[in-house]
Symmetry: C2
Subunit: 220 residues, 2 copies
């Protein structure tokens, strides 16, 4: 039971060893790392094992490899990028509430951004949603929100939103109910009028209503 080699995954040890080597040598971003063959000999493992570790680090953006030249230390920041979020989400149960809150932050910012821009608030898509609802055609909550994020034009914000959406407990994948239509309509009207305060106010009311629906159905 008491294995002397706790990590059954050698390549994970290599990843760790590589980080140690990087630190010991005081390698800076852009510096060249020892070649795969040298690393294999120094760490007393096969070259393929070293490569598995290096490929992992490469996918994380920690290192950069150039055929014929060597392996180089890449922008270290990319690592945190991965680690921070993946370590955070799905960890603390309380964090789900932060996920929802952060998601609303991005949605609100998108509304604000659109309302402030005459060109964006004149987009035909808003009228399209209004007409659809008037005709009684089904409109998915998420579609409206997504169009807001898309129209706002901040692609990073959009990607973060997509990410958060997956973890969110807010049931935005369903249709807009009759009871919500008033809020959504007034939100879009405010948006097209350039009144961000009005739009955001109704957006808040709408989301609160959707959240109330969720809590009402939480037993099934």
């Amino acid at each position: 039971m008491e294995k002397s080699s706790p990590s059954s995954k050698r390549f994970l040890d290599i990843v760790h060893d590589l980080r140690t080597i990087i630190k010991e040598e005081g390698a800076v971003i852009g510096d060249k790392l020892p070649s795969e063959r040298v690393l294999a000999e120094r760490l007393q493992v096969g070259r393929s094992t070293v490569r598995e570790a290096l490929r992992s680090l490469e996918l994380l953006g920690l290192i950069e490899t150039r055929r014929g030249e060597g392996t180089f230390l890449a922008d270290y920041k990319k690592h945190q990028l991965v680690e921070i979020l993946s370590a955070f989400i799905m960890q603390h149960p309380q964090s789900l509430q932060h996920v929802d809150a952060t998601r609303r932050i991005h949605e609100t910012a998108a509304i604000e951004s659109i309302a402030a821009d005459a060109e964006l608030r004149g987009l035909p898509v808003w009228q399209g949603f209004l007409r659809k609802m008037e005709l009684g055609e089904p409109v998915i909550r998420e579609d409206v929100l997504k169009e807001l994020l898309v129209a706002a034009g901040n692609r990073l914000s959009l990607k973060i939103w997509f990410l958060l959406k997956q973890y969110s407990r807010v049931p935005t994948q369903y249709e807009i109910t009759a009871g919500e239509q008033g809020y959504v309509t007034r939100m879009l009207d405010g948006l097209m009028d350039g009144s961000s305060v009005t739009a955001i106010g109704h957006y808040d009311d709408w989301l609160d209503l959707v959240n109330a629906e969720r809590r009402g159905e939480h037993e099934c």
Copy 2:
């Protein structure tokens, strides 16, 4: 220029192919994936290449491998998490501007959140900043912003902010200059008064000034 094989990294293609296979087979979390040898034959590559891709996915938490048993699909959400952000940032040069914009979204949301909460806006830290500036002591821009995010209480937003801050070109790691003090002071005053509009207005002015400083120094 227009190489027909843009990816000089075969193992990255494998990573993509693996995702395709996973989707095609409709594999669910916990399902067993084909063995490395089978994958190698199906994808027409060597087993070591398959392994490099699998090791990367494992480090990302996408898959889980058990010696003697096989490879299993782990929590799928973790993947996107990684991919989205790491693929995005530092890719398109235009994205830096989105990084700054997104950062401001989170800072603004924090201000709004604090101003709306009597307890938060009464925190002694705001008075502390004001006094420091009055006494002529140096105050780092980032410290003020960080306290805003911390006080707002959304830990996810805070982590995202930390992340974005590293990529941001806005020089917030420096001291608040004499010219900025007026904006910061009025921002904090507005914050403590619960007037989010006032606070955000001065925050915007402040950041615009900081950005102007950056642009002014862009040649050196």
